[in-house]
């Protein structure tokens, strides 16, 4: 036995190691199944699954890819926050600094942007797959509704992130979009059956003003980096939990 093996055995038997990794390498199917029930990482997948359901074409991994993109967006976005100040004075210049001054800033910004576009695509594709496979049927109908909330949250994250560069494109895009909100029935100032006046409608609630201005940038920023990601993470947790706890739809297509 070499020195290295000795150290490895000591490490594997130490309290520190065993408090983190509760299981040894599984020696039987029974042990394997117990571990996949009690391990945090492994419990994402069921301990037993039909062979047919393991086909890639069963899901195309679209939900998993969406979650992976969400993780990339959370990490790259968190790093971008170190150099971005959400004020009219600084926002555009901080975005330019990220592109031309900060090390790997351009890479992070592009990563964030393309992952965001990608997440919208994969979430829609995931939804279409679930629809065409009939995976929304009981007992999974609630998870379909949770998925619809996640779709809306994905769009909202995309939309609120759009304003943050504070350039001409984002300014006028959000101006156009919030004007469309004004045409909403009842709660939009210009919509049919309106009950609210301009300055107190849904558009003003979003913008914190009548037009896109300093309060709008701050509101979109807080929504983009705090409220919407928090809500999305909570719904993702519920979505994952339900998919493991709801009974399977027995009949395969």
């Amino acid at each position: 036995m070499t020195e290295g093996d000795n150290f490895k055995n000591k490490l594997l038997r130490s309290q520190l190691w065993r408090s983190i990794f509760r299981h040894r390498y599984p020696r039987s199917h029974r042990e394997e199944r117990r571990q996949s029930r009690t391990s945090f990482i492994l419990h994402f997948h069921p301990s037993v699954i039909d062979k047919d359901r393991l086909r890639i074409s069963q899901t195309w991994g679209l939900g998993g890819i969406s979650f992976f993109l969400f993780l990339i967006l959370t990490i790259s976005g968190g790093l971008l926050m170190f150099y971005y100040r959400p004020s009219v004075e600084h926002a555009y210049h901080d975005m330019k600094d990220l592109e031309y001054v900060v090390s790997f800033g351009l890479f992070l910004r592009n990563l964030h942007r393309w992952a965001a576009h990608g997440m919208v695509v994969t979430v829609i594709a995931h939804m279409a797959r679930v629809f065409y496979a009939g995976s929304y049927r009981p007992p999974r109908e609630l998870n379909w509704v949770v998925g619809v909330f996640l779709l809306v949250l994905t769009f909202s994250l995309s939309f609120t992130g759009y304003l943050l560069p504070w350039d001409q494109l984002s300014y006028w895009a959000v101006t156009v979009a919030t004007h469309m909100v004004r045409a909403a029935p009842i709660i939009g100032a210009d919509g049919p059956f309106t009950l609210v006046r301009s300055g107190a409608d849904l558009s003003s609630l979003l913008l914190g003003a009548r037009t896109v201005s300093a309060p709008s940038l701050l509101r979109f920023y807080v929504l983009h980096v705090f409220l919407l990601p928090l809500a999305t993470a909570a719904f993702i947790a519920l979505h994952f939990w339900r998919i493991r706890k709801d009974r399977m739809i027995r009949k395969l297509m």
Partner: protein
């Protein structure tokens, strides 16, 4: 000597080296990302005007906000004091009636020379270099901080042509 190494040990070693490389590499990249590449501080050398402009006032405070510098005119001449307390770095205030600089944080008091009168400050206020150009302009350089110790009324300039006092 022949080195014996099993296939498993070889692969484990390569895996460990790759992981170490990944951790070191991403550590370097992270450090690089967090270290600021552009500082938006004011320039550390700036022109303040002609000596005659400052003979009416004892202390000129217009550079205190941004550059953290007072221009002082005393019986000895013109010099620039750094508006940073030598105790723990707060910004003292100038009280013209008492002719004292007082630090609001821990009560250090300095006289017009920048010498500590009372309070915990261990050293006098620092001085910046001040140069009179051939055209007659005063240039203050905050990058080259002169430290005037209590027993040295005026230190020798660090570089030729750079001093800490302009006699008027």
């Amino acid at each position: 000597m022949k080195l014996r190494c099993s296939r498993r040990q070889m692969l484990q070693g390569m895996g460990a080296a790759g992981t170490a490389g990944l951790i070191l590499g991403s550590g370097y990249v992270s450090l690089n990302f967090f270290s600021p590449k552009a500082l938006y501080d004011p320039p550390n050398r700036f022109r303040i005007g002609k000596p005659e402009d400052f003979l009416n006032n004892k202390v000129t405070e217009i550079w205190k906000e941004r550059q953290k510098v007072w221009l002082v005119h005393s019986s000895k001449g013109l010099y620039a004091l750094v508006a940073t307390c030598t105790h723990l770095g707060c910004t003292p205030n100038w009280f013209p009636e008492e002719e004292k600089f007082k630090c609001p944080c821990h009560g250090s008091v300095f006289n017009l020379e920048g010498d500590g009168v009372s309070g915990p400050a261990p050293e006098p206020l620092f001085r910046t270099s001040i140069v009179l150009t051939e055209k007659g302009d005063l240039i203050v350089g905050t990058g080259n901080l002169g430290i005037r110790l209590p027993d040295q009324s005026n230190r020798e300039p660090r570089r030729s042509g750079e001093g800490f006092l302009i006699r008027v």
